[in-house]
Each structure stands twice: as C-alpha cells, then as structure tokens.
C-alpha cells in the first residue's frame, strides 16, 4: 500500500519536471541538458529558503532559480551561438558549483525540523492521513502547473514558442524575435524542472547535491512512455501524456525494485535503455520495411527468370 501511494505521489511530483522536459524536448525541439543542474538548483534554493523562511518562499525561490538557469542556457544558445547541447552542459556544470554555494558548501541539507508545504497541508487538515495529505499537495501542484501552462500556450507568446520549434524562419518572418522566444521557453521549461526539485526537497525533507543525476533520462523516459499511450496529438493531450508517463514510470520502477529483478542501482541503466529503445523504434521500423522490400524483390526477380 505504501509503495502504491508512494509511487503515485512521486509520479505526480516528478511529472512537473516531465512537463518541463516536454516543453524543451517536444515543443521547442531542443534537447536541453540544463535539466540536471536546474533540478538541483531548485532543490537547493527550496531547502535553504524553507529552512530560513517559509516553504512557499522556497517554492517561489525554486521557480526563480530554474527560470534563471534556463535563460542562461538560452543566452548561450542564441546570443553566443553555442550548440544547444553544449550550452546545456555548460550551464549544468556551472550550476554544480552554484548549488554547492547555495547549500553553504554542504553536499546535503536536512529539513526534518522545518515545516514544509506537505506538513503545512497535514496541519491544515489534521483528519487526513500523512500519505493522503502528501498526495493532495502533489496533485494540486500538478493541476495548477498544467492549467497555467495550457493557458499560456494559447497566448500569442505561447503560440510563438510552438511555432519556433516547428519552423523558426516562419516565426522570424512574422516579425517575432526568435532568440527572445527561445529564452522564454527555456526559462519556463527549467522553472518547471526546478519547481519540481523544490517540491521534492520538501517532500523528502532532504536535499542532496547529487539528486539531479540522471534526471534528464528519467524525464525523457516518462515523456516517451506517455506518448506510447497517447501518441502525438494536441498540446493538452501532450501535457496529460507527460503526467501519465511520469506516473507509469514510477510504477515500473517500483515494480522492478519490489520484485528484486535487479538492484536499485541499476535503475539509471534501465531508464537509459527504455529511452534508447523508444528513440530507435522509427529507425528500426524503416530498416525492417526496407529489408522486407528487398527480400520480396529478390524473390520475384528470381521467380521471373
């Protein structure tokens, strides 16, 4: 039971990060490696501000931290013309030091003696069990983020972001500053990711400098699992598929660890393999179709002789 509800909580919480990755990877069409840094940046900012002030302040801080990280990557990509993948790696590496600085040089921070958004919710509704309270906070956060994103992507700016991922030349021809659009999109994407980090820090009452390692692959795997259920359709469906993907991913992980199929440290490898297979499917399909054509063609030409 704990595992069931725990996975659901994690699935919802991490889905905010998955939404961020969906924005950069699917909408803007840029693989953004800032993720690992910005997730931890949000985690660090949230834990320090929660300890020093208020959990809500921590979440706002996490959002701001992510937006800042994203705009740095955006600046590197657009104004300095650095390759998108490299720009993300540069920001991510730089953030490692920044994160340690934010956490006061310690590699982990504990919030066990502080209120978090989750304990506040439990205090406000004392009749609920701890798990239900956590789930409610998680679901509420996801709903708020999804609704805001859906509305945002219906505005002119949101439409410009979608078009930029599709055909940047056409956006430029519509008198829109593509560089600015990319920076905004990466800020929003990383704000989501860092916000997720901020929630996770408060959820586990603990922040660790290495929490972000492998998070990008987790996000990509979730996006891809979601698309396996829903396919590529409208934006709203895309967001929902990202959330479902995140939850399903958590259950796969829970199932795998529970059944002792493999030790917990294998998780990252498994995630990487899931993503690799999913990304390889189109190429493999083409190869198989071509092989079939070739085989049939050879047989026919032999038969004709």
């Amino acid at each position: 039971m704990t595992l069931l509800i725990g996975s659901l909580q994690l699935g919802f919480l991490y889905s905010i990060m998955v939404l961020g990755i969906y924005i950069s990877f699917r909408i803007l069409n840029i693989p953004d490696l800032t993720t690992e840094g910005s997730f931890t940046f949000g985690l660090a900012a949230s834990s320090i501000l929660t300890a020093a002030g208020h959990p809500l302040l921590g979440l706002v801080g996490a959002l701001a931290a992510g937006a800042l990280a994203g705009s740095v990557t955006g600046f590197l990509q657009t104004k300095l013309d650095i390759h998108p993948v490299l720009a993300g790696i540069l920001t991510m590496s730089g953030l490692y030091s920044i994160n340690l600085f934010v956490m006061g040089g310690a590699s982990n921070v504990t919030l066990l003696n502080n209120d978090t958004i989750f304990t506040l919710c439990l205090k406000a509704f004392p009749f609920m069990s701890k798990d239900v309270a956590k789930l409610i906070v998680a679901v509420a956060a996801v709903v708020i983020v999804t609704v805001l994103l859906t509305i945002f992507f219906k505005t002119s700016l949101g439409l410009s972001i979608r078009a930029t991922g599709d055909n940047a030349d056409m956006v430029r021809a519509s008198s829109i500053n593509v560089d600015a659009v990319k920076m905004v999109a990466l800020s929003i994407s990383n704000a989501c990711i860092a916000f997720c980090g901020g929630l996770i820090a408060q959820y586990q009452s603990f922040a660790d400098i290495n929490s972000g390692v492998g998070i990008l692959v987790v996000g990509l795997a979730s996006v891809i699992i979601g698309e396996a259920f829903f396919g590529h359709r409208s934006l709203m469906i895309g967001f929902i598929s990202a959330i479902v993907g995140s939850i399903v991913y958590r259950y796969i992980i829970a199932l795998a660890t529970k059944s002792d199929m493999f030790p917990a440290y294998m998780l990252k490898l498994i995630s990487a393999i899931i993503v690799t297979i999913a990304l390889a499917v189109p190429a493999i399909k083409v190869k198989m179709a071509n092989d079939r054509l070739k085989k049939n063609g050879m047989r026919e030409s032999k038969g004709g002789r």
């Binding site: 219906k154 002119s156 599709d166 055909n167 056409m170 519509s174 829109i176």
Partner: protein, 264 residues
C-alpha cells in the same frame, strides 16, 4: 516606397571562393509598383531579397523602405513591414500547427500584447472569410495541420499570411516554381488579385520570361549583382520574349568585347 542605394555585398571575401553577389546595385520602386526580376542563377536575385530582408548586412549601401533607413535593423523587425514568399512551400508555414494557428501567428504582427489569446472568435471569423475567397475549401479545414496540405494549398496560406497585415513591400521568390502548372496559374492569379486590390509594392523573381513581361508593370534583369536592364511603360508593352533574349545576348557580347579589349 523602396530604395536600394549602391548596395554591395561580397561573400567569402579574401578567399579563393570570393563571390561578389551584389555590385553597387541601385533600385527604386514607387508605391504600388509591381516589378518582375529576371536573371540567371547566381545573378544576385535572391541575394537582393536577402539584403532587403536583413539576412545579412550590406558591405556598402543602404536600404530605405517608406522613407525609413532599415539597413541596420534586425531581420525580425524588418519583417514587420515586409512579406516574403519562397519557392519552397514548406518554408513559410509551421507544419505541425493548424491553418488558423499559422494565420494567427502572422496576424500577431498587428496585435501588440504577448499574453493576449492567440486566436479570438473574431480572428477566426476573419481568417475564415479570407480563406473563403480562394475557393479551395480551406475555410472548412482551419483546424487541420498545415503539414497535411498540398504544396499549392500551403503556398496560398503563406500568401495570405504574408499579406494578412498589409505589408509595405511584398517579395515573391519564384513562389510558383515548385507547383504544377495548373496550381501555379491559380496561385499566380490569386497573387495578382491581392497585389492589385491592396496596391502592394511588389518584387517578384521568376525564370519565366513570358510571365515576367506580362505580370506587373516593370521588368528588371540582374546579372553579376547589378541591374543590366530596366524595362517599363511603352518599351515593355511591345517587348516580346525574343526581344528580351536579343537584348540579353547583345549586352553579354558588349561585356565580352570589353573584356577582350582589356585582355589584348
């Protein structure tokens, strides 16, 4: 309306691949003038368009649009008053966005405010009316992704996009060349309608000499980055394709003779 003054651009300067794409080119267009541009590959036609649109900055010279010097404006700011169509129908539209979303994006030139809803009911009505007149059934497919349309349909949508907010200048870069003859004719007819109705100042690149002479009000020919002739009014009325070819070979021979004098 448009003035290109003494425009020069050399690519890969100082390398063995040095290429003088524009060579002190001068061009002046009056409001509402429709000019067709001829010229062989590499004559500098598209480079001229790129210079006007700001894909690069000129080495020398300036571009004045409607009395305003736009020579140093970034591309996206110039495109607020310039509409441009390419030969490739894929270039002007975002394939994964619907027809109405593409139109809304182009229409956003007109409406300031980034956080305004991209498509209002009123906009949708206006797009529907605008599409209806093309008589291609596009008005009933506004929620279809552009990628599913044919090349001709995409080019018509692009044409509508680049004129939905009346541009000061319309640049057509062989925009019917990739279409089948019947569709090309239809797109050209729609183009003519829009240009005349809105009295748009237009430049059109074409490789079809007959079309160049019959469309618009003036024809220029480019060679090696400069205008070698500029035919208008009476002279143009009586000009045939073979006259044009004669003029071209005459001009080329002249140059050749000059070279011979230089080399001898």
């Amino acid at each position: 309306m448009l003035e290109v003054i003494n425009a020069s651009k050399t690519f890969a300067k100082g390398t063995p691949n040095e290429h003088k794409a524009l060579d002190h080119l001068n061009l002046s267009l009056k409001q509402g003038e429709f000019v067709t541009i001829l010229g062989s590959n590499g004559a500098g036609k598209s480079t001229l368009f790129n210079a006007i649109c700001g894909n690069f900055l000129l080495d020398e010279g300036s571009v004045i649009l409607d009395g305003k010097n736009i020579s140093y404006l970034p591309e996206h700011q110039r495109s607020a008053s310039i509409g441009r169509l390419f030969q490739d129908p894929m270039k002007g539209t975002a394939p994964n966005l619907t027809i109405e979303e593409n139109l809304a994006l182009a229409y956003s030139k007109n409406t300031k405010g980034l956080f305004r809803f991209a498509i209002t009911k009123k906009d949708r009505e206006m797009f529907r009316e605008a599409l209806k007149r093309f008589d291609m059934g596009l008005e009933d497919r506004m929620a279809t992704k552009i990628g599913l349309l044919s090349g001709g349909q995409r080019q018509v949508v692009t044409l509508l996009m680049s004129t939905i907010v009346t541009p000061k200048l319309l640049l057509l870069d062989e925009h019917t060349a990739a279409l089948d003859p019947a569709t090309a004719e239809k797109v050209m007819a729609i183009t003519n309608d829009i240009v005349h109705e809105r009295n748009l100042t237009t430049l059109m690149i074409t490789h079809n000499m007959g079309q160049a002479l019959t469309t618009g009000s003036r024809t220029i020919m480019l060679d090696s980055g400069a205008i070698i002739f500029d035919i208008k009014e009476e002279e143009r009325k009586h000009m045939t394709v073979s006259d044009l070819l004669d003029m071209y070979s005459e001009k080329k021979k002249e140059e050749f003779d000059n070279d011979r004098i230089l080399l001898s």
